[in-house]
Symmetry: C2
Subunit: 332 residues, 2 copies
């Protein structure tokens, strides 16, 4: 592994000149430049970024804290983050927390020890979470309203209202919900939208219509059981699942119980992952701009890191209701 001293020796100049030739070539004469470049070529010099970064006190990397990398929606957000990071010369460190607080703490420690310049957190900030240390550059992507630091998100309450309104417009009055974990802020916000829609339509809420999963395919299948086991007249005629994966899982549960979708029961998802389009029937869902959420969040941490920014931002990106075949009119 050659270093700058070796280059300077071969080129017959000082290390300072080599450094300048490489970083600020217009401060160096043509002739010297050539000598340096030739020497770089000759000794196959590659700068030692560990040394460079150490000196510059900049790791040029971003830590992404993601609950579950196999979740396609999160993977899309990460693509947005990575493209932006890459474009700005930053690397992305993967922190797959698997919802473990201990793992999350370990990753955050890496940022505190300067292995990373900033954090993008993909799980929503819970009400009870401690506020992150003042000096941490952190942005929440896919968060919720009320996050006490920078946050890029959609209007979860409004999106939820849009989808429940759609179901109500189709004539449904008994609308079931497959929520995420009860204390998850996404669950809370989307449930709020659900209740707002019911209230606006004059439909009395019924807690037996609400069941909880954990955003995985499996939990969606389990959740469907809650509804299929109900006597038919109590059963909802439509279900709002808080993500596509649980909706896809539920689809299987409904079919196992010989319920036809949407003829016997409608179901809608949330996220518009690629699989939503390929389920049978294709899912009505809310399209979240995953890639853009990642891109914006990355832009934001980068500005925090560069120090261009101090005011806390709450950026809300648009969502869109996507109508497909899994929802249909209520049939008497």
């Amino acid at each position: 592994m050659s270093n700058i001293r070796e280059v300077s020796r071969v080129a017959g100049v000082s290390t300072a000149t080599v450094s300048r030739a490489l970083s600020t070539p217009d401060k160096v004469s043509e002739k010297t430049l050539k000598k340096v470049y030739d020497a770089v070529e000759k000794v196959q010099y590659r700068p030692n970024m560990m040394a460079q970064n150490f000196r510059a006190t900049r790791a040029w990397s971003l830590m992404v804290l993601v609950p579950d990398i196999t979740n396609r929606f999160f993977a899309t957000v990460i693509q947005g983050i990575e493209d932006t990071a890459q474009k700005n010369g930053y690397s992305v460190l993967l922190g797959d927390t698997r919802d473990s607080e201990q793992r999350e703490a370990e990753y955050i420690r890496r940022v505190e020890t300067r292995q990373s310049d900033g954090i993008i957190q993909l799980r929503p900030h819970h009400k009870g979470d401690p506020k992150p240390a003042e000096h941490l550059k952190i942005v929440n992507a896919c968060g919720c309203e009320g996050t006490p630091y920078d946050c890029v998100r959609i209007d979860n309450v409004g999106a939820s209202r849009a989808i429940v309104d759609h179901l109500i417009d189709m004539g449904h009055r008994r609308i079931g919900v497959i929520s995420g974990l009860a204390d998850n802020p996404h669950s809370i916000d989307r449930l709020k939208g659900y209740h707002q829609s019911l209230a606006a339509a004059g439909i009395a809420p019924d807690s037996s219509l609400i069941t909880h999963g954990d955003f995985t395919l499996w939990s969606g299948l389990q959740a469907a059981g809650h509804f299929t086991r109900m006597p038919a007249r109590h059963r909802p005629t439509a279900i709002f699942s808080m993500n596509d994966d649980m909706a896809i899982g539920a689809l299987q549960g409904l079919k196992n119980a010989s319920l036809r979708v949407p003829d016997d029961i409608s179901i809608a998802g949330f996220d518009d992952t690629e699989y939503a389009r390929f389920s049978d029937p294709a899912l009505t869902t809310i399209a979240q701009p995953g890639y853009d959420l990642g891109r914006c969040a990355a832009d934001r941490v980068l500005r925090l890191i560069e120090g261009d920014e101090d005011a806390t931002a709450d950026i809300v990106l648009p969502h869109e209701l996507i109508l497909r075949q899994s929802t249909g009119a209520h049939r008497k």
Copy 2:
């Protein structure tokens, strides 16, 4: 941001002693230890890993080169890598190449400039690829036979044979293939297995039965069109798709053409991602040990980095044929 000098000042000892107290406490007296720990606490000292790593010439990070992070199979492999890395004190740098050679080159450059200690490459090594530089610590996960450096993989030829044999056992003789890109080594190996099975059963190959996708859901849908547009008597009675995503895409194409699976046509996938179980009908497929492939590959680079190893390894992990409802007996 406090540093070791500040700690030494507060503790009233030298920086050397602080360093020793933190890394080799048994070389330091009890009394001094306490003074140091108190000072660390008082000034909220966090070691600067950039300095530590620079001095140790070890980045403590692994670069993962992945063609597409949204592919669930790859995401699972990455979980195996990350758990192993984490356990050994390494971070994972994400290099989502999107099949771009330019991006791949940029990521490799990061390793050459010592931002990372080693590489795990998730795309298979192509015959024509240049051999990576001698000093690079690189392991191929999910590779193919004949990779000229360390490789952890399954027996793609054998797995392909297992699935095609199954279709033949069910009475199918016209077996279509949805391959990946023609020059992809996985495509090549799996096609080889397909041909071996046909030959063993005395079935003449028919190139009109082979079509190509790119391992995405969409391309599977396109590929299905190739078969549904055929006159019925030329159409295959079973299809082997080289991954689950394309099979799921194809499922939709077959349904659009009013073909029932498996009554009119059988289809099998490859990978056994979580979605294979939740498609309708659930997919017959080959289970690849994605998590273990990642774990083994990470173990391997780690050994390369630690210098415990020099012989090139070719590690083959077991696969398994998973029978579900998407394949059935051939009906006359």
